[in-house]
Symmetry: C2
Subunit: 182 residues, 2 copies
């Protein structure tokens, strides 16, 4: 069995909202699922072309008042079906990769200062991300209370908030521990 092409399912997923261009899909990814999935141009555009060939999306050109023309993609019936089939497959395994932890694991006194620098940057960036997530979480909670249909999105945001929160706590402790250990 081949490697699963998640890019394809993500595109299909966003196209259930409404027809979108590759550019807009990228923006959507960045503004919603970025903390647990990223997509670059090198993935989106070739995949989109492939999907047209496979008949899971259709494309039409649209001229815009601002900026150049864009290619807008719509979900076809075949696409909708492919997405639904995928949603039915159980899948609970996740992957987490951290070069920083690798360096910590193989680290020693000689690398302590570099690690401390990394941890500080990590802490700073994580705090910023968490501040954004915090706002998201509140908004989504309200949206969910009004419209229970959005419980699914809310739960992904909640995870993000919790994830960043834990990272902050860990980084704070790690910095403290490393500083005191000479």
């Amino acid at each position: 069995m081949a490697k699963t092409n998640y890019t394809r399912y993500i595109i299909l997923g966003f196209l259930t909202y409404r027809p979108l261009s590759g550019y807009v899909i990228r923006k959507f990814v960045e503004r919603s699922i970025a903390y647990f999935w990223q997509l670059g141009n090198g993935q989106i555009y070739p995949t989109l072309n492939r999907m047209v060939k496979d008949g899971v999306v259709s494309m039409h050109k649209e001229s815009s008042d601002i900026g150049p023309d864009s290619k807008v993609y719509s979900l076809t019936e075949a696409g909708r079906k492919e997405l639904d089939e995928w949603l039915k497959i159980p899948e609970y395994e996740e992957s987490f990769r951290s070069p920083m932890l690798l360096k910590l694991f193989f680290g020693n006194r000689a690398t302590r200062d570099i690690l401390l620098e990394d941890l500080k940057t990590f802490l700073k960036e994580t705090r910023e991300k968490q501040a954004v997530m915090e706002i998201f979480e509140k908004n989504y909670r309200q949206i969910m209370d009004e419209n229970p249909e959005h419980v699914y999105m809310y739960l992904t945001v909640l995870r993000g908030k919790m994830w960043y929160g834990t990272n902050i706590k860990w980084a704070e402790q790690a910095i403290k521990t490393l500083k005191s250990a000479k």
Copy 2:
């Protein structure tokens, strides 16, 4: 710039302990860094061959009382240097990928039951992993108290414990929320 070959650095890292076979390296990975980095045979063995060619490790055969002969790899000076160079590069970005969150995000009433099943399996497995981590964390804390050199490993274990703990809390809440939302 090309994608970083972390497999290579992980192997170099473990070889600083003592000379090891590919098989043993895999066991080490599984028993220590698996929660934030995994390696399969398809990565370890070809990389090891490549590393011999590049002169960063050397290989000699060893016959064993139990089981077949094994190829044992040792770190060369060039390898030690390559590892040290890498340890100096600052790097704090991490990647987290979750197909389950993708499915949650694009999920709806129709997929609720599948999602609930996934979440329950996820919760069960995460609890098991956390139980192991809990023991690790206690052991490492003690080791660290006796020998501060091990603070680096301790902090990676601590992160694992916290990571699993958060996942458990989130999964419990997600199940509760999904169940109550009909």
